[in-house]
Amino acid sequence: MLHSAALSADLLERVGVGVGSFRSDDAVLPVPPALLSLFPGGGLRRGSTITVSRSPSLVLALTAQVSKRPGWCAEVGSPLLGSAAAVEAGIALERFVRVAEPGEQWATVTASLLEAFDLVIVHPPARAGQGDMRRLSARARERSAVLLVAGAWEGAMVGLSITGSKWQGLGAGHGYLRARQVEVQALGRGSAARPQRVKVWLPGIDGAVSLAHENAA
């Protein structure tokens, strides 16, 4: 299962699906193979905006796949993402640049980073306006970067969220957290309008993201 998923990602990448495909080798950034069914384009299309709500581990898993490429990723607006967890997910910390407290300048900072980075994660402040978000999304499209909004924004190409989560490893007073099964839901526009769900280990016993059932999705 894993093999065929990886293969099709590879294939899609080579064919070059998606916008900005003038760089056909590179039009789609890879996603964890287990989540492939949620991305109709075969991965994160360059130039697109996606949202991930309420799941830092999912943000880390997506970032890791881009980071391993090797790509450059940046995060704006939150000091919360655990660096140890980032390393475990496979992110190269030397190519993961963070601006935790941009203050009023968060949109300007994000726009600057979209100029150069492959993936920019933004935690928009509560007061963020639709105008700001639209401008950033347009900037991402123009620069063929991927904008990952940690939170909700309806203008995104794909919105990911976790609809179910169950940790394993803890008993009543013994054990330790070992693995977690989650249900990830993707809700998109256009070709991704129908909600898609997939059950995955995030992380599995081995720390990796993998499909929880053969027949999922």
């Binding site: 660096s83 967890a85 030397e94 492959d118 007073g173 992380p203």
Partner: protein, 536 residues
Amino acid sequence: MASSRAVRRLNNRAVRTLAVWCPDWPVVAAGGNADEPSAVLAGGHIFACSAAARLEGVRRGQRRRDAQSRCPELAVYPHDPSRDARLFEQVAESVEALVPGIEIVRPGLIVVAARGAARYYKGELPLLAKISTTVADETGRDVQLGLADGSFAATQAAYFAHIVPAGESAKFLAPQPIRSLDRPELADLLVRLGIRTLGDFAALPRADVLARFGPDAAYAHDLAHGFEARPPSARSAPPDLAVELALDPPVDRVDTATFVAKALAEQLHERLEARGLACIRISIEARTSNGEQLARSWRHGGVSTAGFSALAIADRTRWQLDGWLSGTIRSDDGQPTGGMVFLRLVPDEVVADAGRQLSLWDSTTGLGSDFSARGADVEQIERALARVQGLLGPEAVVTAVVGGGRELAEQVRLVPWGEPREMLPGDTCPWPGQLPSPSPATVLPEARSVTVTAVDGSPVEVSDRLAVSAPLHWLRIEQRAPIEIVGWAGPWPLDTHWWDRVAARRRARFQLTTVDGAGWLVTFDSGRWLIEAVYD
């Protein structure tokens, strides 16, 4: 052929040069004692070691483990190039007061043209005596001096504390091993061909060396001959290549200086690159708000045909500014007497760019090795981050280094973009009591107070002997409805600073899962429950 001979004759007029060398400088600067085995570690390998450590079999380039197996009592310090440069500034100042026009090759090594000074002090021997006593008196540092024709020979002479008579550089160099050329790849090759000394190498026909090994080797061949240690194409730079910057407000902090240094270095590098030039000697000039003029020259690696990279220029500038800010322009109480209001970088000597010096990311120093992978366009990345740093200050843009430590917060160090991401000695050791992976994806900057109660709603407590008063059943965050705890493990004791009566803390850690599927890391700390992190 005739013209190449002419060039050779010109180069042969090697300048009488004095080299001032502080043995094992990185170790000395780190505070190591030369009489005890100590070493400086960079990237897990020995970068420099004291004479005592060398006697025990410790060598440069060894892995830490190998070095410690040879010498268990080895004291190990982390490598800090800016500390090396900052402390070396005192020595540089003290030498400069006697012999003007010094060039720093690296922290620990100075070269300077010696003819004028030797005449002034009535002979070479009195000059050397004057320098070694003055430096020892003023800085308390031990220096070793060498005098020869050309800076390469002078440097080698300094390693032996030797005065090479005029015209005898070639004779002095002949028995030296081939690796003193500081070109490991070339040396490797030559040794395999049976050429072990500079004399053997110099005996080869120059045209053959050039044809077989390329221009850099031909240049090394000249060095082995004792010809002037200056690349044949070296020339003084036209004045318009200098870059300068007025600083308003005045710069009196090292981190701001770092930022300025980087911007200016990039600018200079771009300007040189546009003309196909590389710089092998750079002057850093500054003026303080009190009108003091400061200037210092740095020479590239002593013996190389490849110029400074952008990163190397930035490093030298940062080190120099750091040195001035923490020494020269401070009064006795450590306060700056005035900030820097003007900074100028002058490429004193340039060579035609042989196409080797690269942008910030490919240098072999500092950041370079970390950034070998090239994803997006690194120059663009650098520009974008410079813009953000300009907007929010250099400290606002960071990357994390995960090291050792039991507590989540102390495991992570945030390094401002552009600073070297160095590991500390404790980073690679196992830390008993560290949480098992997976690590929490959300780490709260400040722990949040919560209530944990038993099934009957009574508060759960943990005694000093780690007895839990009742099974954990309800987790209540602020005034929200309590969430049922479905799994828990602990208490895992976390004693920190137990040796210190005031700072000692005894805490108990728990992992919880709640009915909504979330995982939590909570601690019981002197009667209170706190959330440290969330496994979400």
